[in-house]
């Protein structure tokens, strides 16, 4: 029997990134904050993989944002200094919060993890004290992802989408 192998190209990752981003927003609206956190980070991983794959077609099974940043060249596409700080801030938020093993965490486990890294609800000054830790982080991560996606989609369309 023939072995089934999935091969992904840059466009597969790109369109998956857009879908995951929308799904993360949907999960937030439905108050599934822990899953929204995981899926938002996943959407950024897909976007970085799309950019990386345009330069380097070797598959890397690691889910390391630093490696993807390094080989995708994504952050180097931004030259305007003010926008650069905005995007670097957004990437910093993603890097500080997200990791691939969040998918294994229950809500309580994720709350504890966020508290352990110092990102419990008190960290975000613009949220009320009564706010939920998962909700705050989910919102922050989604906001960061919008900034990354706005820039990412614009670069992608300019560089890779064929003009009709």
């Amino acid at each position: 029997m023939a072995e089934v192998k999935f091969k992904f190209n840059a466009e597969d990752y790109y369109y998956a990134a857009l879908e995951r981003r929308n799904e993360a927003q949907h999960l937030y609206v439905k108050e599934h904050y822990s899953l929204s956190i995981y899926v938002t980070g996943l959407s950024i991983e897909c976007l970085l993989r799309a950019f990386k794959y345009k330069k380097d077609k070797t598959f890397d099974e690691r889910h390391d944002i630093k490696v993807l940043l390094k080989f995708s060249g994504f952050s180097e596409e931004i030259n305007d200094h003010d926008i650069q700080i905005e995007i670097h801030t957004a990437i910093n938020t993603v890097y500080a919060i997200w990791r691939n093993n969040l998918r294994f965490m229950s809500k309580n486990k994720m709350k504890k993890y966020l508290k352990d890294i110092g990102r419990d609800k008190g960290f975000y000054k613009n949220f009320p004290k009564s706010a939920d830790t998962l909700k705050c982080n989910s919102r922050k991560l989604l906001d960061a992802s919008y900034k990354i996606f706005n820039r990412g989609v614009s670069i992608w369309e300019k560089k890779f989408l064929k003009k009709k």
Binding site: S75, N92, F123
Partner: protein, 86 residues
Amino acid sequence: MGKKILKEKIKNALKTEFTEQEIDLESKSNGKIIGFVISDKFKEMNDFDRQKWVWNILDENLELSEKASIAILLTLTDKESEAYRS
């Protein structure tokens, strides 16, 4: 400017506020610099203030073309960094 010299210049600029152990820089094959500043001085600082702080240091110490060679510098606390590696 050579990759090594630029990396040292960035490190020296950052050493005005951080220790050598808190700075981890890497040169990419295209000459761009990617790295981390991992310090508990970032505790309770939001991501924008961390980045603004680091970039203010770089603005004061580097030329425009040198700053353009920085791909990204991530700013993390010890715990954030530790959790990422675990």
